[in-house]
Structure formats: C-alpha cells, structure tokens
Amino acid sequence: MALPPVFTGLRDVIEADLNQLMDDVETAGTTATTAITTAKDTALTAVENAAAVYTYPVGVFVFNPSGVSTGTYYADFSGPYSFNPARFVGKVIGGTGSLSITFLSDGAPLYGPVTLTTTETVTAAPAAPIVAGADIDVLVESVTGTVTGFYAKLEGLPA
C-alpha cells in the first residue's frame, strides 16, 4: 500500500539526512584515518631513518703493523642503492701520526681530503649522494709519522 504523500516526503527528508550523516561520518573517519596513517608513517620514517644510518656504512678499516701505505683501498663494489651520506667518521687507531684520505666514487672525488688523527673526526653531511652501482674507494694520499691502523666510513640514508 502506498504511503500517503506526507509520509513519503518525511521519509525522503529522513533518508537524505541519514545519507548526509553517513557521509559526514565517513569523511570524519577518513580524515582521522589519514591523520593516524600520516602520524604512523612519520614515526616509522623517523625510526627507519634512525636505523638506516647504520644500515649502509661504507668505508674501510685498515691495520698493518708495518705501517699503512698510500694508495687506494676498495670500500665497496657496486653499491646496492643510492644513498645520501649523513656523516663521516674516521680515526687513526694504531701507531702515531696522521694521514690524509679522500673518498672516491667511481674514481671521482667524493669527500676529502680529510686528515685523520688519533682523535676521532666526525663531519655531518659530508658528501653529495652516492648513486646505486658506484664503486667506492678510500684513497690514502699521504701518511705522516707511523700509522699502523685507521678507519674511515661514510654513513647515510637511502636516497
């Protein structure tokens, strides 16, 4: 049996209101979800980035009781992915004196020259991005005194 017109109109009004209400709820829910997702992503990114600093250090540890020689030391072949060096760390850990090193990327200067001593050297944002597939070398250009060991590394975030 058909509803009287007055009820039909009332039904339409109520239906429209409910639809609007549902839309508003959905929108609010979406907004909330987006905010939560964004917050989650931000938090995860921060954590991931913090962790990532230590996931791809590239560099060398050299120890030679006869004394470290000048020349090129391979640090990595065909780096797995592009990354942005976030800091450099290096130090003479054996013997006395200092040495001058330069990081090379496919033979081109990447970072340096930097002089390493028995006091740890730390430098923020030291170099341009390293592209995926690059061969990274550490070039010891000169040695002063008798250095029997050192380390030098670049730490970074995936680009």
Partner: protein, 698 residues
C-alpha cells in the same frame, strides 16, 4: 659495507703523475727529470658544474709541454726542474699522487644580456644571454662545444619567485632582434603565471664548466643596470593584452589626440608629434606612479619628436614604446628628431630608478644635433629595437648628459657621422646587438658588441676594467689609419675585466701597417685577468692585421696576465712581449721581473692557433712564444682563404672589401683544433663534434 684490511697487502697504488707538484701559478709543475715537450699526460679532477648547474667533478687530462725557460738574461736556458702544462691547474682541482700548490681560481664567465628588458609582459617572459669562459669545452654528454655549462634563470618580485630554470644548450636566436648575422645564445622563456601583477626582475647565474661556486657569475652580485645585473619587467596581464594607445600622424593634432586602449578609437584622432602624444597620455592616464608604463605611441607616417613641455611624466618600469601603426612599414613610420629626446620621465618614486623610452620598428632620423637628456636623479635609457637609425650626417652623441644611456638591438645605421657609439664621458653605450651599417671610420665602444656587421669602423675599449665583449662580429673594412680592435685599461696598474673576442671576422685591406687585435700591448694599461679569443679570423699579411697581445714591457709599470684562452684563432701574425724584449730591446732595469706574459709565452691555454707569418722582429722569440700551444701552427704560411681580398705586401698593394674568408679545401688551418668550444660558427652553421678548423667558419 666496511672493507677490512688487516695485516693487509699493499693497496692499489695510485697511477703515477709525471710531476711532483704544481706551482702556485697553476700553469707550471716541478719535475725532477724534466723533458721538453714530453706531452706526458696527467689526470686531474676539476670542481665544476654540470648542465643543470649542480656542482660536480670533471676528469681532465693535462699535458706537460714546454720546459719553462729562465728569465732574462738567461732566457736561452731552461729552468732546472719546471715544465709548463697546456692549461691551468686550479686550487679547487684534485691532483692525486702529486702536490697541488696552485692558488689559481677559475674566473667568472664573461656575460652579456642581449635582449631588451623594461617590457610590459603577460604570463611569460623571454630573455637571451651570451657567455664566454676560459674553460669552454665540449659538453661531455654530447661532444658539442659550449662556453659554459649552463645559465640558470628565475623571476622574482621580491615576495614570489619562480623555480630556477637551467639552460645548457645554445640556439641561434630568431624572432626577437633583427640580427644581420646569426647570434648563438642561451634563450629562456619563463612561465611567470605564478607571480602577481607588478614589477619583477630576472635573476641569472652563469655556471662555468670548471670552477666552484665562487666562479659563478650571479646577477645578484652585481649592481646597476649595465653589467650582468637584474633585468627588469612589468607584469600586467590585462594591460599587456590591451595597452593604452596613442597614434601620431602628420595630419594629427596635439590638443585633440585621443588615448585609448581601442586602436580604432585612438587611430581616428591622432596627435601630431611624439611630444603631443606624451602630453595627451599624461592627461588621460594620470600622474600616479607608472601611469605611462607600457604606453604605445603608434607612428603613422613621418612625424616630429616635437617640443615637450617640462613636467613630470610617470613611467615606472615598462618603457614607453614608439612603434609603427599596424600595417605601416619601417620606412614609412619615421620619427624626426627635431628636438632633444627629453621625455621628462622623472618620477623619483619608481621601483627601478631609471626611465626608459623604446623606439621599436620605426625609422629614427635626426634633423640636427639633438641628444637624449635625462633628468636629475632619474637616469634615462633610450632603446632602439629593430629600427633604422638615420643620423643624417649629424654628429649627435645622443647621450647628452652623463645619465642618458643608449642600447641598440637590431639597428640599421645610416649616414653615421661618428659620435654616438664611442666611449664618452657622458652616458653609456649599454648594448650594441645586431647593428649594421657604415660608420665613417670611427671607433665603436666594445663593451658589448654582439651579432654586428660594422663597415668602416674599429672597435675600442679604453676602459677595459669593465670588460669587453665582441661576439660574432664582422668588421669587413676597417679604416686605414686605425688599429682594428684595441682593448686596454684606463690607467696603469688596473686589472681588466673579462674580455671575449669570439668569432670576429675582419681583414686589413689598406696599406698602412696597423694592428688587427691589440689587447694590453706596448705601453697600454691593464692586467689581463680573463681573456677568451675563440675562432677569430683576422686576415692580413705579417704586421698588417697582426695580434699584439699581453705585453709586459711598459717603461715603469709591470703587468700581470693570466687565463688567456686562444682557441682556433686564425691571423696574420702574433706578438707578445715580456722579460726578453724588455731586456734585450728596451734595456729595462727590471727586465728579469717582466714575466707577466710568461704563461701565454709558454703556450698555456692556446689550442689550434694558426698564424700566417713570422712574429715580429724577424721571428725573434723576444716578440713571440716559447711554445704556441697544442695543435697550434705559427708561421704556417698562407692559410688559403677561398677569396682573399686583403692587403698584399709584395709589392704593397691595397685590397678591397668583400672576399670570402672560408678556408679552401686542403688549407693547413683546417682540422687543427682538436675540439669545439662553440656550438655554431659565424654563419649559424652547427660546428658539430670533433676537430675544428681554425677561424670563424666551421
């Protein structure tokens, strides 16, 4: 990953360099076992820019060339352990396995703006620039020659900026300036729709291939209007679409002329004179700041400038443009200068501080010695853009006072009487692009000469501390009594700014012995700090049309020259003088210290240079080179032009204008230049990659 070397074997040894260290002067090295002309290669890594303007490292192989000689009086002997390189090593270069003591820094590019600014524009703006640099080279990606890595440009209105746009490739300019010969340049068209209407400027950064951040030429580092500074525009989309118009006709009336954005309305009731048009525009458009910006005064036939009543006319950024009425050709739309060009544009509240009037596409004909006059505190720039400028024999300087300046873009000069285009104590010759005509044997200021054909003229820059630019220029018939190109500083002891002489074509045709290219020679003033001479052709024979370059033989003042690039230059004779000449020929007490040309004398920076005849004094090394540079041939004999019309010495016979200075097939100067540094030749022909001919033709 961390590679570990514990109790390691030896690392990979560095490739040996053929020398122990680079000297502070950058162009010579210390080598305990020196060999003359060994051409031993050395690899250096140079800090520079890539095609988008980012810092990068470029590898380059340099060569050990001539053993460095001792100074006068021991000039016949080599130094014990020093050898010249073919090029400079910079302090920013990395030279592995040798000590780099160089203190040299790459110079900034030599740049000029070559399109008019002060325009009213809508949502886009176009600008062109040219740039020369010592370290011009082939693009590593394509092999095509480029003087610089790129130019970066953005628009800025003080609160809003567009993104930087980098342009690396050069083009042959079309559609903006009517050039008599093709002009290779960087062009950029910026979308400025994101900027609000109003005054804005363009910012530029010219990035050299070699040289770190301090070697970038930035417009924001330079002040004023003339140099490589900001370019100024007015953005107003609606005004650009419908600017105010006032017509001027020989049948017009200065009291009834109508100003309207409707062309038919304005055309129906024209003014009689330009002065009348300005007066009516002031009445119609008001006296607020910039009221006359973008005003178009349309010339119907031959009209007078007229006599403008002194007042304040409010032009801010965009020039008042005087142009032909639609459908009227350049020969019919004639503005007769029967009075001073004094538009009283003296709104001192303007954004820019300099007023501008632009003649565009009309004939400007002088009827007396009248000039352009600026107002106190309000300099005036008068632009001539795609015009015929007819001096009608009047020797007007145009620049009537010290703050009235002129700029030419695509101008056919007629009946030049010789005063306007030379350096003067009054206003500046800002730009000479696309200028052609005959110039009555006069000197034209070489601050910025681009794409010009200048008959019966010479180029001079006697205050080269501000630099000089000669870019794609023909001087087909220099006058008998004057050197063709002369560049020096205004006083002894001054450093000259960047000087570029690129694809200059000229021939000495008269019988008086004159120099073709003279830059800081003999008693001239000025230390060369950056000089690029690329693919010039200066035809002649022996001393007639010679090069006198980079001397250090002044009676009392020592000079210092460096970063001199000669690439693919072709001429009749070359000379340079230093300690040797100062001692043997002049007997100067301090001759042993006259080493200002020493790098040049040892061939540093010279590539594929060809000279026809012995250098001066019968080929004495006191006038010349210890080594001419890689690929260079000095005293190579007749370069064999297709049609040489220059002076002939035996017997001394004057030549004639015309001729064809392409190299004939089999000419010795063909293919002696190992690589390109320009994309196009003087005819606009692509130079391609690989070896090049000396001279201005590909």
């Amino acid at each position: 990953m961390i590679a570990q070397y514990v109790n390691t074997v030896a690392p990979i040894a560095l490739a040996a360099q053929p020398f122990e260290s680079v000297n502070a002067e950058g162009w010579s090295v210390v080598n305990s076992t020196p060999a003359d002309l060994s051409m031993a290669p050395a690899t250096v890594w140079r800090r520079g820019h890539n095609q988008s303007g980012a810092l990068t490292w470029w590898p380059e192989t340099l060569y050990m060339t001539k053993r460095k000689r001792q100074v006068y009086p021991n000039q016949a002997s080599f130094t014990t352990n020093e050898v010249a390189l073919n090029d400079y090593v910079l302090s920013t270069d990395r030279v592995f396995n040798a000590t780099n003591n160089s203190t040299q820094v790459s110079p900034k590019p030599i740049c000029r703006h070559i399109t008019p600014d002060r325009q009213l524009v809508g949502n886009s703006v176009t600008a062109e620039v040219v740039a020369a640099h010592y370290f011009g080279r082939p693009d590593p990606a394509t092999g095509v020659g480029k003087q610089v890595a790129c130019v970066r440009i953005r628009a800025n209105n003080g609160t809003q900026q567009t993104a930087w746009v980098a342009v690396s490739d050069t083009i042959i300019s079309t559609g903006i300036v009517d050039d008599p010969i093709p002009v290779e340049c960087h062009r950029v068209t910026l979308d400025i729709s994101s900027l609000s209407d109003g005054y804005f400027w363009l910012e530029f950064e010219e990035c050299p291939w070699i040289g770190s951040t301090p070697s970038v030429m930035r417009s924001e580092d330079n002040a004023g209007f003339r140099g490589f500074t900001r370019r100024h525009f007015l953005k107003n989309v609606s005004l650009a679409a419908a600017p105010p118009l006032v017509y001027v006709s020989s049948t017009g009336n200065d009291t009834t002329g109508v100003v309207s954005t409707n062309a038919a309305t304005a055309e129906a009731t024209p003014c009689l004179t330009i002065a009348g048009a300005l007066t009516r525009a002031r009445a119609a458009l008001g006296t607020t700041k910039g009221a006359l910006d973008g005003l178009r005064i349309r010339v119907v036939n031959t009209v007078n400038w007229g006599a403008l009543v002194a007042n304040t006319y409010h032009q801010n950024v965009a020039a008042v443009v005087i142009e032909p009425a639609p459908g009227v050709d350049i020969a019919t739309a004639v503005v007769t200068i029967n009075n001073s060009i004094r538009p009283y544009l003296r709104d001192t509240t303007s954004d820019m501080g300099e007023a501008t009037v632009c003649f565009k596409g009309v004939t400007v004909r002088w009827a007396g010695i009248f000039g352009a006059t600026a107002e106190t505190g309000r300099p005036l720039l008068v632009q001539f853009w795609n015009c015929i400028v007819d001096w009608a024999g009047y020797a007007t300087a145009i620049k009537s006072n010290g703050t009235a300046h002129i700029a030419f873009f695509g101008v056919q000069a007629q009946n030049y009487a010789g005063a306007a285009l030379s350096l003067s104590a009054s206003g500046e010759v800002r730009q000479l692009r696309g200028l052609s005509g005959s110039f009555n044997g006069t000197a034209i200021h070489a601050y910025s000469v681009v794409g010009c054909v200048l008959e019966n003229a010479v180029l001079t820059q006697p205050q080269a501390e501000e630099g000089a630019m000669i870019w794609k220029v023909k001087l087909p018939s220099p006058p008998d009594s004057t050197n063709t190109v002369s560049i020096n500083a205004s006083a002894q002891g001054l450093d000259m700014g960047g000087i570029a002489v690129v694809e200059l074509l000229t021939a000495r045709i008269t019988t008086t012995e004159k120099i073709g290219l003279r830059i800081s020679a003999d008693s001239d003033a000025g230390n060369i700090t950056h000089l690029v001479i690329a693919h010039v052709t200066t035809a002649g024979q022996s001393n007639w049309g010679r090069w006198n370059l980079a001397y250090d033989d002044h009676a009392t003042v020592r000079r210092y020259h460096k970063f001199i690039r000669m690439h693919g230059a072709l001429g009749s004779q070359g000379n340079t003088k230093g300690d040797w000449f100062a001692g043997v020929n002049l007997g100067l007490a301090d001759a042993s210290l006259r080493t200002g040309n020493f790098a040049f004398h040892h061939g540093v920076g010279q590539v594929g240079v060809y000279t026809r005849d012995l250098n001066g004094n019968g080929g004495s090394a006191s006038f010349g080179w210890a080594y001419p540079g890689i690929g260079s041939i000095h005293h190579g004999g007749d370069p064999i032009y297709v049609d040489y019309r220059g002076v002939i010495l035996s017997p001394l016979t004057a030549g004639s204008t015309g001729g064809d200075y392409h190299l004939a097939p089999g000419a010795l100067a063909r293919d002696i230049v190992p690589y390109p540094v320009l994309t196009y030749d003087i005819e606009g022909t692509a130079r391609g990659t690989g070896t090049q001919d000396a001279g201005c033709y590909a």
